[in-house]
């Protein structure tokens, strides 16, 4: 263990350490906590400039109801779900297929194809903005859910393929030999041998993809325009323009945007961390 663990028989030092970490943590999260608290304040208090102190009154229900009824936030929230969930499923399916083939079958151009999948990951998304936008306009998908779903599936498949290939390549060879000896087709092998074994990888990939797609802002503003399809990230930045002084409502909306990925993270933390480190290490 490095650094050297604090000895268990020194409760005083342990307490001091825990207190120090807690202090650093509070400093680390103070901006976020203030936004949380402010989402509970009344409008008068915000106008009076009480941004950081203890709230005088708690308007939890009022503020969050106002966000849902007076703004399009509920719509944006729904849009984000409609965009994110199919994207995640699409990425999982496509990358399982590509990862399986690239890890288990040798064919001409396999390396080049893999290199392209990996290389495409590194590109800043902005580089492909103009052609992608043009493509979506010309096939009539611009400003629809499909534009974002199709793009996110395509883009995330790069990273996901890398991830799945490495995971499937690490499975023992004997399994595949046995499947072949039994006369299983590649499709049957995939369904009956590979799928049951890659559940942890699928979970990790699902949570990572969910976070990436939910948090996307760039493509949201490039590929959508109308409130009917706009996801929460783009919606929040709109809302901030319209509700300049109503910081309590903007704060409530901000918290709403943050909740799904944070909840997902806490529910599936082990998978998230494993996925992130494995993905980054192998990448």
């Amino acid at each position: 263990m490095y650094p050297r663990p604090i000895p268990e028989d020194s409760p005083w030092r342990r307490t001091a350490y825990a207190a120090m970490v807690a202090l650093v943590l509070i400093l680390w999260l103070v901006p976020l906590m203030a936004v949380m608290v402010t989402s509970l304040r009344s409008f008068e208090e915000v106008m009076a400039g009480n941004y950081w102190g203890w709230p005088k009154s708690f308007n939890f229900v009022e503020n969050y109801t106002a966000v849902f009824t007076q703004t399009a936030m509920a719509r944006y929230f729904l849009n984000s779900l409609i965009i994110t969930l199919p994207s995640v499923i699409g990425v999982l399916i496509l990358s399982t297929l590509t990862g399986y083939v690239l890890s288990r079958y040798r064919f001409r151009g396999a390396n080049l194809m893999f290199a392209l999948f990996v290389g495409g990951n590194f590109l800043p998304a902005q580089i492909m903005m103009i052609p992608v936008r043009d493509l979506m306009v010309s096939i009539g998908l611009y400003d629809t859910y499909y534009a974002l779903i199709v793009f996110h599936i395509a883009f995330q498949t790069g990273f996901a393929t890398l991830f799945m290939r490495n995971f499937i390549a690490a499975l023992p060879d004997e399994l595949f030999q046995a499947a072949r000896a039994e006369g299983a087709s590649p499709g049957q092998t995939l369904v009956h041998v590979v799928l049951p074994l890659i559940r942890p990888a699928l979970a990790a990939l699902a949570i990572l993809t969910f976070t990436f797609v939910w948090n996307d802002y760039f493509w949201a503003i490039v590929l959508t325009q109308s409130d009917a399809v706009k996801p929460v990230t783009a919606g929040l930045s709109n809302l901030r323009g319209e509700w300049v002084s109503a910081w309590n409502l903007v704060a409530a909306a901000t918290i709403m945007v943050a909740i799904p990925p944070v909840v997902m993270f806490f529910l599936m933390q082990r998978h998230f961390i494993a996925g992130l480190t494995v993905g980054a290490v192998k990448g």
């Binding site: 103009i130 052609p131 883009f155 944070v262």
Partner: protein, 279 residues
């Protein structure tokens, strides 16, 4: 055959589109009408554009300041890597900025920087000083935006280094302790060499993050005041979407592409070098 849907989709939407950008950069195009071949004229204009150099300079500031993320992430990781009850939940809370949308981070920090009631002005006020309006000051604005962007980036490096610290060789650490190594020499000669791979990844992720910077600029300043906080990615977006100069935007994107390609080449070479040495 299984590979076809994924490969086609990725090939068309990502790879082909990126290459097409280079092609578009040789045209004059408003995004709707006819494309007109203009050769290198977009680039000639670009290298004559003062705004381009502002963006380039800001991208360098991003890159430079982002280099703080790996060491700070390592420092936090060293602080947190203790097997004490309750540390798991503490660590998770430290990771939270990482999963926040950049829009969320942007809104949160716009608020910290608020000149009348923000946290910063509160701190300055405590010492009897007036806080500068960071986001409307052309000298400070980029630094303020990058400082905000560092928050999730440090959390990212923290995750990587914590994983790295868990994979340290107990033997080497033990041997170092027997030899009386502690403090800096221990960290420098025994621990860091074992973290080489992780550090390299943290660095790579950070460089990519710095070059990709767009969201925070768009949310916090829209490139302002007077274009003083733009970065290449934002300038490209603005030129294409707001000014309908798609050819010009594509030229900016191509420059970004070239910078990125240089970095990717360096990355792949460093990544492949140790393997060749072993062979």
């Amino acid at each position: 055959m299984f590979i076809l849907p994924g490969a086609l989709l990725f090939g068309i939407v990502i790879i082909l589109a990126s290459l097409q950008t280079v092609w578009v950069s040789f045209f004059d195009w408003d995004g709707v009408g006819e494309m007109q071949w203009v050769g290198l004229s977009n680039y000639v204009q670009l290298f004559d554009d003062a705004q381009f150099y502002v963006s380039l300079k800001n991208n360098l500031i991003w890159l430079g300041m982002f280099m703080l993320a790996p060491p700070l992430g390592l420092a936090l990781a060293l602080l947190l890597n203790q097997p004490i009850g309750g540390m798991r939940i503490m660590k998770s809370l430290f990771f939270v900025p990482l999963v926040l949308a950049s829009v969320t981070v942007g809104v949160v920090f716009t608020w910290v920087y608020d000149p009348s009631f923000g946290l910063l002005s509160l701190i300055f006020g405590y010492f009897g000083a007036t806080a500068p309006a960071l986001l409307s000051d052309e000298h400070f604005v980029t630094f303020a935006v990058v400082a905000a962007a560092l928050w999730p980036q440090i959390a990212f490096c923290l995750v990587l280094f914590l994983a790295g610290l868990n994979n340290l060789s107990e033997d080497l650490i033990g041997a170092g302790r027997v030899d009386g190594a502690r403090g800096w020499p221990m960290l420098w000669h025994v621990v860091l060499p074992q973290l080489r791979e992780v550090s390299f990844i943290a660095l790579a992720v950070t460089v990519i993050g710095a070059l990709r910077s767009f969201d925070m600029v768009a949310v916090m300043t829209s490139g302002g005041p007077f274009g003083s906080s733009t970065v290449l990615a934002y300038q490209m977006y603005e030129q294409s979407i707001f000014s309908y100069r798609f050819g010009y935007g594509a030229a900016i994107a191509t420059v970004l592409f070239v910078i990125m390609a240089v970095f990717i080449a360096w990355y792949l070479r460093t990544l492949l070098k140790p393997e060749q040495e072993n062979a």
